[in-house]
């Protein structure tokens, strides 16, 4: 894989305005006989946060993996800033990934690296133009932004689940991405920690104006951070719109989903 070039900020701005940052077009995906995504389509622009909700096992996480190119759809297109992740070559996929930040469900921190080294990982591999002290400063700024000053030398196994999520968020933001993908950011956290993570995501979104997708089954979290909600069932987007649109829907599944979570 050749050295990837990080697009300059001006290039990113032009690219972002020309078309939606994320454009999913009729994506389908099956695992054996089970179809987990069945013609899913939606767009997300910069400054928007789309919450994708649904029951467990409805393909929400698979959707994120397709967007970041970890899996290929059986059909359809996943256009990320104009690059179709389903068909692009390795170099194009790598270039697109440098403009995305991904927070995995369990943070997926590298357990042989310290907190500081984890957050610095994308900078070490993609910002050879930055000096060591500049990278250190950037890491400190990112950890300050997520409220984790003073934990630089700790190992991931020595911090709480909530702190791991914050480190994961800091790492996802290291390259100043245009797109932010969050897979169940509040999963496994207590209500207070969940609320703190929600507030942090909201603050970061307001500051960085990214195109964000949050996969969750936490309706309260979705109401807090999302500008739009897409509710999935049996691999399809059943309804997409604001929380008010969902409240006024007469679809039985939507009603059941809302009332269970509220």
């Amino acid at each position: 894989m050749p050295v990837t070039e990080i697009p300059k900020p001006a290039d990113k701005e032009v690219a972002a305005q020309a078309h939606p940052a994320i454009d999913i077009q009729k994506v389908t995906k099956s695992f054996g006989p089970q179809r987990v995504l069945d013609g899913v389509s939606f767009e997300v622009r910069r400054g928007e946060t789309l919450a994708v909700l649904g029951r467990s096992g409805t393909g929400k996480s698979v959707l994120l993996r397709i967007i970041v190119g970890l899996q290929k759809p059986d059909s359809g297109a996943a256009l990320i800033l104009g690059t179709n992740m389903a068909e692009a070559d390795d170099a194009s996929i790598a270039a697109a990934r440098t403009q995305m930040g991904f927070l995995f469900q369990h943070a997926a921190l590298y357990d042989s690296l310290t907190v500081e080294e984890n957050v610095a990982f994308p900078l070490v591999h993609h910002r050879q133009d930055m000096s060591q002290s500049e990278k250190k400063d950037r890491v400190r700024d990112l950890l300050h932004e997520v409220g984790l000053d003073g934990h630089l030398n700790k190992m991931p196994s020595n911090i709480s689940g909530g702190m791991q999520k914050r480190v994961g968020l800091a790492r996802a933001l290291a390259l100043d991405p245009v797109i932010l993908l969050l897979d169940e950011p509040t999963a496994g956290l207590d209500p207070i920690s969940s609320g703190e993570i929600d507030e942090l995501i909201l603050k970061l979104q307001q500051e960085h104006q990214m195109a964000s997708i949050v996969v969750t089954h936490d309706m309260v979290s979705a109401r807090t951070i999302a500008t739009r909600i897409a509710l999935m069932d049996k691999g399809r987007v059943l309804i997409e719109g604001s929380f008010e649109d969902l409240k006024h829907s007469d679809e039985k599944f939507v009603t059941q989903f809302l009332h269970r979570d509220l």
Partner: protein, 272 residues
């Protein structure tokens, strides 16, 4: 007139030869996947940028940290060889051949194969467990999502570290084996170290020293490749991690032994 009922002759049923046994399919499937994996690692490993920092870190893990165990094992083999060989040689009135017996046995075969099997156990299990744990906790996915090639960062560095470290560890094992062979011999019947070494290496040539040592690079390639392959394709949580570690050790040990058989023959053909 009554008609005799026609009896159809029995038609022999041929066995279905189009469906090979499941074990053969699984075997071929494994080799196919391994081939694809190895090609990806090779392609990533030769393409810049290179992960020098990770390579040196792995060289320390594989080499430096295996040294005490390999040296101890080499020393033990030297002791055993000296005791067993002396007992046999005395019976045939050839105890003067003891130094050469110990040196040739350790340097040409025992040192290399022992090093290969010990590293296969320690490093094979370690790499298999580490990478499988990274796989099941999505760390490898996170590396890939960060636009970093996991085949280059994780696999190529470890395989290259094994290839470089094995000959160095073999030299250490052989040195300890020869030294402890001398210690054992001299405790029974005093002989100077200089005399032991001179007598032991008398008549030894290039083919007795370097090819057997550097064949362990092939062992390193086998151990590193199999351990990385089984680790990076692991599934199934803690059970998957355990299975990956065990499979890594078993398969790398088996293939190291098979490779030894083939490499010994090749060395004898190339250096008659």
């Amino acid at each position: 007139m009554s008609s005799t009922p026609q009896v159809k002759p029995l038609t022999p049923v041929a066995p279905d030869v189009t469906a090979p046994p499941g074990l053969i399919v699984a075997f071929l499937d494994w080799f196919g996947e391994f081939g694809i994996f190895f090609w990806r690692v090779l392609r990533s490993g030769v393409t810049p940028p290179y992960e020098f920092a990770e390579f040196f870190r792995q060289l320390d893990e594989v080499g430096s940290k295996s040294l005490p165990l390999v040296a101890a094992a080499g020393g033990a083999i030297g002791v055993v060889l000296a005791l067993e060989a002396r007992s046999s040689l005395v019976r045939f009135g050839a105890k003067s051949l003891l130094p050469a017996t110990v040196v040739f046995a350790v340097v040409t075969e025992m040192g290399p194969i022992l090093t290969g099997l010990i590293v296969s156990g320690r490093v094979g299990a370690g790499i298999g467990a580490e990478l499988s744990a990274m796989r099941v906790t999505e760390q490898i996915d996170a590396i890939e999502a960060s636009a970093v090639d996991p085949y280059k960062l994780l696999a190529a560095t470890r395989i290259l570290a094994c290839i470089v470290a094995l000959p160095l560890l073999t030299l250490a094992a052989s040195a300890c084996g020869v030294f402890m062979g001398w210690v054992t011999a001299t405790l029974i019947e005093p002989i100077s170290l200089v005399h032991f070494i001179n007598t032991g290496f008398q008549g030894a040539g290039f083919k007795d020293l370097l090819p057997p040592t550097f064949k362990t690079s092939v062992y390193g390639l086998i151990i590193g490749s199999i351990a990385c392959f089984t680790g990076m394709r692991a599934k199934g949580g803690a059970e998957g991690v355990g299975r990956a570690a065990t499979t890594s050790v078993v398969l790398s040990s088996l293939f190291v032994i098979l490779a030894d058989v083939i490499l010994v023959k090749i060395i004898l053909l190339l250096f008659p």
